[in-house]
């Protein structure tokens, strides 16, 4: 009895031809990939409505602990750093920090900034020297990173850059960002594309990382010294980047702040689609 009912149910249900199912599956899969990857490239989720930066309202304040204090250093820390270095970094960067030809650059004289940047964004240790360094889960604790900074710093180099986003000016930050950074990082720091490299979005960057990256130019990014971007401009850039984490979407849902592409998708798949569905309610559906 159940078998007959089941068979009758199976027979009665209209079946979409296999071809159509495959095409629909591919389209859904593609759409899912697109949406997920668009999500992935954002990092932190956007609050709706955002902040409206009108009439002298203050923007997002820098998070606690972002302002750079002088980095700790002591013989014990340096020793710990040496041990960590030998176990993870020496295989590419050489036991004497001299680098290895075609594998990794020398770290002598790089200073604290690059070490802090690469390690606290998880870009290093890099599993394969040919792979571009991208933001990844951080491998070390804060103490371990400080130890490595102390160790590498002991080979000479400039200290980590100072930055205080709260002292910066948003207007100057926007101006400098447009002139120097938007070509790669997109106007609201959503990242982008260039030939032979991927430019990361800055949604997860804090003020200190911004300052360090600006001064050192990681991977294929140019580096900007204090004569091109002075301290006030650096503070302003950091403040602007932090602001881009929650831009003022006065118009409503920001659709990832990527510009006309998500707008076109909304126009077709939300607006036009809902109007077509409405038309189907009004008109005849059989030909």
């Amino acid at each position: 009895m159940r078998r007959r009912l089941a068979r009758r149910w199976l027979q009665r249900r209209p079946r979409t031809p296999a071809r159509v199912r495959v095409v629909v599956a591919i389209l859904c899969g593609g759409l899912a990939v697109a949406l997920l990857s668009a999500q992935g490239s954002q990092g932190a989720a956007q609050p709706s409505g955002g902040e409206r930066v009108l009439a002298n309202k203050q923007a997002v304040a820098p998070a606690p602990g972002e302002m750079t204090a002088p980095l700790p250093s002591s013989p014990a820390l340096v020793a710990q750093g040496r041990r960590l270095y030998a176990s993870s970094c020496a295989s590419c960067h050489g036991i004497g920090l001299q680098g290895r030809r075609r594998i990794a650059p020398s770290l002598i004289g790089v200073g604290a900034g690059p070490v802090d940047f690469y390690l606290s964004t998880g870009r290093m240790p890099l599993p394969d020297p040919r792979v571009p360094p991208v933001r990844a889960p951080v491998k070390y604790s804060r103490t371990q990173i400080d130890a490595l900074i102390a160790f590498v710093g002991s080979f000479g180099g400039p200290p980590a850059p100072d930055v205080d986003p709260s002292k910066g000016s948003l207007a100057l930050g926007l101006h400098e960002f447009t002139l120097n950074c938007a070509g790669c990082h997109q106007m609201v720091a959503r990242g982008g594309l260039t030939v032979s490299a991927v430019v990361p979005s800055l949604l997860q960057a804090n003020g200190r990382e911004v300052a360090e990256a600006v001064r050192m130019g990681p991977y294929v990014m140019p580096h900007f010294n204090s004569r091109q971007i002075d301290q006030h401009a650096l503070d302003s850039l950091a403040r602007y980047v932090l602001w881009t984490h929650h831009p003022d979407n006065a118009g409503g849902w920001g659709i990832y702040n990527l510009g006309p592409i998500p707008e076109g998708m909304v126009a077709w798949f939300l607006l036009a689609l809902s109007l077509v569905l409405f038309a189907r309610l009004i008109g005849e559906r059989t030909t």
Partner: protein
């Protein structure tokens, strides 16, 4: 006549057998694929007219309720406007919902409240042969009695030509002269300044970054004004021989405007460690044309059809960076008579 060759016969037979099989296969496939059931006549012969008068009190109530709610939303819009006319979201929501409710009410009324009719109308013929003939006849009758048709037609044509020429003349005189299409504000001695107007010193230009430079005392928004300036170490510098003097201390200046479609070039990749990466290059963000500053702006990827124009530089006695001459080629996108670079 050569004697029959058994091998040739065999081959011919094999070929014709194969051909026969292929044809049979195709015929069978066609027969299978084209098998369809007999169709009904496409033109219906029944009369589909009907008129259905609904007596749907529930639908009427529904429509009334929706319209009242729409009214409330409309008043809500006014209230929201009075409270804060900058709150785009609330304004849009109230007005939008008001319109949506009216829309639903109208459609409900249109489908459930008013009589539903299906009518049949005849579709008139568009081509009425005799009428077309009559129109042609009437028009021709208007020319009855005219003896010198050719003279009048010729004269009218001449008048038309004269009128058209007169009408086109102001338009043509608006006509652009292309004066200045080959020139920019850059001449020998013009100083390079940043976008706030401060001049660049040669010693301030560092390797590993890029600078946007504009001509002093000139319009910064003119197409030819923007420059992208970099300093390259000797290992990246491979300028053609004629341009060796254009890059004092390895400082190079190129037009910031991409010669493909005119966007500003604002991507500069400069590798920390070249061995696992690529050399310094400019890229345009619009269509990703990529140029090598160390090789005179040569195109290495993308649709640009010309190299990036380079401006010769010099350092004056006080250390300021100045142009050493004009561009040797046109900047900006190509056109019919564009001056292309030689090297």
């Amino acid at each position: 006549m050569s004697p029959p060759d058994p091998r040739r016969d065999g081959r011919l037979r094999a070929i014709s057998a194969l051909a026969g099989r292929l044809l049979a296969f195709r015929a069978l496939r066609e027969a299978l694929l084209s098998r369809t059931p007999p169709p009904p006549p496409p033109e219906g012969s029944e009369d589909p007219s009907e008129r259905e008068v609904p007596a749907n009190r529930r639908a009427e109530t529904g429509v009334a309720v929706l319209l009242v709610l729409a009214a409330l939303c409309g008043f809500g819009f006014t209230a929201a406007y009075a409270a804060d006319w900058h709150d785009t979201q609330v304004l849009g929501a109230t007005l939008g919902v008001c319109l949506a409710l009216i829309a639903v009410a109208l459609v409900l009324a249109g489908k459930l409240v008013v009589p539903q009719e299906t009518h049949v109308e005849e579709r008139g013929l568009l081509l009425k042969e005799d009428e077309v003939e009559e129109v042609a006849d009437i028009l021709e009758e208007g020319g009855e009695g005219i003896s010198r048709r050719a003279l009048l037609t010729g004269a009218a044509g001449l008048a038309g030509a004269g009128l058209l020429t007169a009408a086109a003349t102001p338009l043509a005189s608006l006509g652009p002269n292309l004066d200045g299409i080959h020139s920019t504000a850059w001449r020998r001695g013009v100083r390079l300044v940043d976008d706030k107007g401060s001049p660049y010193r040669a010693q301030d230009i560092e390797a590993g970054t890029f600078y946007t430079a504009l001509p002093e005392h000139a319009d910064p928004d003119a197409f030819g004004s923007g420059l992208i300036v970099v300093r390259l170490d000797a290992k990246y510098l491979h300028l053609p021989a004629a341009r060796r003097g254009w890059a004092p201390d390895g400082i190079l200046a190129y037009s910031k405007i991409c010669p493909h479609a005119g966007c500003a070039i604002s991507l500069y990749r400069y590798p920390t460690y070249q061995a696992t990466s690529v050399g310094p290059a400019f890229t345009c963000p619009c269509h990703y044309s990529t140029f090598l500053p160390g090789e005179g702006g040569r195109v290495v990827f993308g649709p640009a059809g010309r190299a990036l124009p380079q401006l010769p530089l010099m350092v004056d006695g006080e250390g300021w960076l100045r142009a050493a001459g004009e561009f040797r080629e046109d900047i900006g996108p190509s056109w019919w008579s564009v001056h292309r670079g030689q090297s």
